[in-house]
Amino acid sequence: MTPRPLRLNVNGTAEEIPDVPGPERLLDTLRWRLKLKGTKEGCRTGDCGACTVLVDGRSCLSCLTLAHEVDGSTVTTIEVGAEEVLVARVRAAFDTAGALQCGYCTPGFVMAVAGLLGERGTAAPREELLEGLGGNLCRCTGYAAIVRAVDLLRTEVP
């Protein structure tokens, strides 16, 4: 459990973080060491999805992931720039559809949608995509506008 260095590629930047304790969660590494506060802390028990990020392109609950488990990986968070084309497209769809209110679940939702589309593609059955978002909670929108954003993405040319 001795703190040891951690290597991550975060949003295109190689990070070498010294002295990360063994039990530290990826969520806390991102938020408190790298100061990437866009990834939100909700329940810390894997129930709300607010902390969702992409690890090597796949969506991941950063509150249930030890930072050292993903040592050497590529991590993508909501702060990533427009060069990450899929995330940029999801952001644009959320904007067009008005798929946010308070905004607290939004970063996790955007990353979850990006992860899902990256994995299954926009041609995947609608029901499959919507089921894949069952782990992200939103209290404001009733999900209606979020579903409209997903539908926009499905009708776009991939």
Partner: protein, 734 residues
């Protein structure tokens, strides 16, 4: 009016919006409560020495407050810590600050406390197994007693064709804003400064001043982006603790709750029991008796607003000749009651609608026709004697019935369709002030509320400012200011923002346009427009660029300034009908009727909502996109309260399901398609006749689902939520 893109989408989608949990000040300490391990007991000893001996740790308990604050000025009724007696589980005994969350946790664990247990009252029905008697007012368990009567109730009941009596029970529900409470406090010279995620910066300032016994003028409260409020962030909570820790340590202090603590300590709607009795003669409601026992946890006597405010929602929206209503706020060993989106109104609507539908069935009458024929109309008065203004509930109900007829005609076997309605009152009465600054290129609206997500500030107020000045939306800037900078505002609650601050903006805009007209040598109000990026004014025969009409001093200040305020008069209740306690007037009536189609699993009793339609009287809709989004979100939240959401308290006062896995809010796949329609033509007290829309959408939902469920399978469920278990019991499957 048309929809506009959300102005806050950019920062929220880039991850740069700073919420309360994101606050990060160099050198800050992390705070935590020392929670009471039992729900009721006498504190024999509280030993903080071992915790204080830990490196970098500061612990403050009840004995330390005198070091910083004059006890004479502090709020004597409420205290930050348990004093001598613990009255609810997890009540703060002390508070710690440490260099990290882990060290704060270790310090909490190092506190030694000995408590002699006292009997725990966890269930309000154990306090009054029968209805409270005449000696109940003297009981320490009674925080409030309200009683009102009108007409000859007893005679009407004696002369009735039929009397229907029922008892309903409703569960405790939590707001579940995804962002837990969080703030960072700092002492800057002689200023107590706190940044916090709150619905009411001025409310936090007032409350903190009263709790700590320091003047409001020495406290500055600065709101962050708010990750959902729903009533849970309406008053001070962590801020006073963070401030005293900052004062004691000389360091900034971060205080954020973990989500389990958010459940356990959050101020929520607690369980209630409602007894409904209705006397019917010749197919008309002649008299009603309504009795309410509302669990208010450890709310203090005199501090319970819920009973006197909420009970009015059991009296409407239906006409009757006479009535009697009586309610008790019952104290139990739970945290104090707190408001949850339209506090207790969805529960009231569930009881009223289910009961009147049942009454109609008992009389072999059509439930919808029976209710529709008794609905309040404009110009009538409520049972407490308030005159009802423009009110579109009957029109909404008719639209809902037409939809229900169409859905019934095409519904699959086993499906049920139901109509439910409910009303709300927009609280425009509380104080609201704004400052407008009209510069050569833009109009700034300075105000003291943070956007909490509903869109009422950034979409609603921007739309109002645009419409009253004639300037396009992109020329209007909503500028939030902290409590040292912004004009006073009482906060985001009661669906009041659009009505109260909107009217204040209207008043200030009229003053601005008059001043501009005077400078053009004309009377009346100048017309404003934009040309090549510059604001132009026109009045009488003259037209000029605004920049030419400003004095050098106004140029320095950024433009011409005008203030606006709005304190709406309340339509008062008839005090001659009140026998005991305080009832609160409603200021602006908004109504809605909903339709649900459900299917019930015949083996498990699980209810699934297949489709949903909502018809709302929101007066004049000022931003169509934001309005639709409010209804969709409110309906979804209501579906949770209808079907799955229930905070379960054990006999020893413990919240059993303090987490999002066990306290089930709806997930994406569980929300049916929701259609939304606005019923226009019933002007409210807000700008252009707008009515607030934050709370009304949740009100009719549990009622609508319950009526649809009965239509689908015959189950008459008299408890919320309509869990599979309760439906199965009603169907005698269990």
């Amino acid at each position: 009016m048309t929809a506009a893109a959300r102005p806050d989408a950019g920062v929220k989608l880039a991850g740069t919006a700073v919420f309360g949990t994101d606050l990060d000040v160099p050198g800050m300490l992390w705070a935590a409560f020392v929670p009471a391990p039992i729900a009721h007991g006498r504190i024999r000893s509280l030993d903080l020495r071992a915790a204080r001996a830990l490196p970098g740790v500061t612990v403050l308990g009840p004995d330390d407050l005198g070091r910083f604050f004059g006890p004479a000025e502090r709020d004597q009724e409420r205290s930050l810590f348990a004093l001598g007696e613990v009255i609810y589980r997890n009540q703060p005994l002390a508070v710690v600050a440490a260099p990290s969350a882990l060290e704060a946790r270790a310090a909490v664990d190092a506190v030694k406390v000995e408590i002699d247990p006292l009997p725990i009252i966890a269930d309000l029905e154990t306090v009054f197994p029968d209805w409270p008697g005449s000696d109940a007012d003297a009981s320490p368990q009674v925080a409030a007693h309200v009683h009102a009567r009108h007409g000859n109730v007893d005679d009407e009941f004696r002369g009735a064709d039929r009397v229907v009596s029922e008892t309903y029970r409703t569960a405790s529900v939590h707001q579940v804003a995804l962002e837990p409470h969080a703030c960072v406090a700092e002492i800057r010279g002689d200023v107590w400064y706190v940044r916090t995620s709150t619905q009411s910066p001025f409310g936090v300032r007032e409350d903190t001043a009263s709790l700590l016994g320091i003047p409001e003028s020495s406290i500055v409260v600065d709101g962050t982006w708010v990750g959902g409020g729903f009533g849970g962030k309406g008053s001070s909570f962590l801020e006073p603790y963070a401030l005293i820790l900052a004062r004691a340590t000389g360091r900034p202090v971060r205080f954020a709750l973990g989500y389990r603590e958010e459940f356990r300590l959050g101020r929520t709607t607690l369980p209630a029991v409602v007894r409904m009795e209705t006397a019917v003669k010749d197919g008309r409601i002649r008299a009603r008796r309504v009795r309410l026992l509302l669990d208010v946890g450890t709310s203090l006597p005199g501090r319970d607003f819920a009973t006197g405010y909420s009970i009015g929602f059991l009296l409407g929206p239906y006409r009757t000749e006479s009535f009697e209503v009586e309610g008790y706020a019952v104290r139990t060993n739970k945290p104090p009651f707190g408001p949850h989106r339209a506090p207790f109104a969805p529960q009231c609507a569930f009881v009223v609608e289910s009961h009147l539908d049942h009454v109609a069935r008992e009389m072999n009458l059509d439930g919808e026709e029976f209710r529709a024929s008794h609905l309040w109309r404009e110009g009538e008065s409520t049972l407490l004697g308030q005159t009802i203004g423009p009110f579109g509930i009957a029109a909404a109900f008719e639209r809902a019935r037409a939809t229900a007829r169409a859905w019934r005609a095409e519904a699959a076997p086993g499906h049920g369709v139901g109509v439910g309605c409910g009303f709300w009152s927009t609280s425009t009465g509380a104080g609201g002030e704004v400052r407008l600054r009209l510069g050569p290129q833009r109009l700034v609206v300075l105000e003291g509320e943070r956007e909490i997500g509903s869109g009422s500030v950034l979409a609603g107020l921007a739309a109002v400012a645009s419409r009253v000045t004639g300037l396009p939306r992109d020329r209007v800037v909503i500028e939030y200011g902290n409590t040292a900078v912004a004009p006073y505002d009482s906060g985001v609650y009661g669906s009041r923002t659009l009505g109260a601050l909107g009217r204040a903006i209207e008043e200030a805009a009229v003053a601005l346009r008059r001043t501009v007209a005077e400078r053009l040598g004309a009377r009346g109000q100048a017309e404003l427009s934009v040309e090549r990026g510059e604001i132009y004014a026109e009045a009488g025969e003259r037209r000029a660029a605004l920049t030419l009409l400003l004095t050098p001093e106004e140029h320095d200040a950024g433009g011409l300034v005008a203030d606006g305020r709005h304190y709406a008069p309340s339509r008062l209740i008839d005090d001659s009908r009140v026998l005991s306690g305080t009832f609160y007037p409603y200021t602006d009536f908004t109504g809605a009727a909903h339709v649900a189609e459900v299917v019930v699993d015949p083996e498990t009793g699980a209810v699934r909502v297949v489709r949903y339609a909502a018809f709302h009287d929101a007066g004049t809709v000022v931003d169509a996109g934001a309005a639709q989004a409010q209804v969709e979100g409110g309906v979804a939240m209501g579906l949770g309260a209808a079907l799955t959401e229930e905070a379960i308290w054990s006999d020893d006062g413990r919240l059993v399901n303090a987490g999002l896995l066990d306290y089930r809010i709806p997930t994406l796949g569980e929300i049916p398609p929701i259609s939304v329609e606005f019923i226009e033509g019933f002007a409210g007290a807000g700008p252009f006749g707008a009515k607030g829309l934050g709370e009304p959408p949740i009100v009719p939902v549990p009622a609508t689902v319950a009526i649809a469920t009965r239509a689908a399978c015959g189950a008459h469920v008299t408890e919320l939520p309509l869990s599979a278990e309760r439906v199965a019991r009603a169907l005698k499957l269990l």
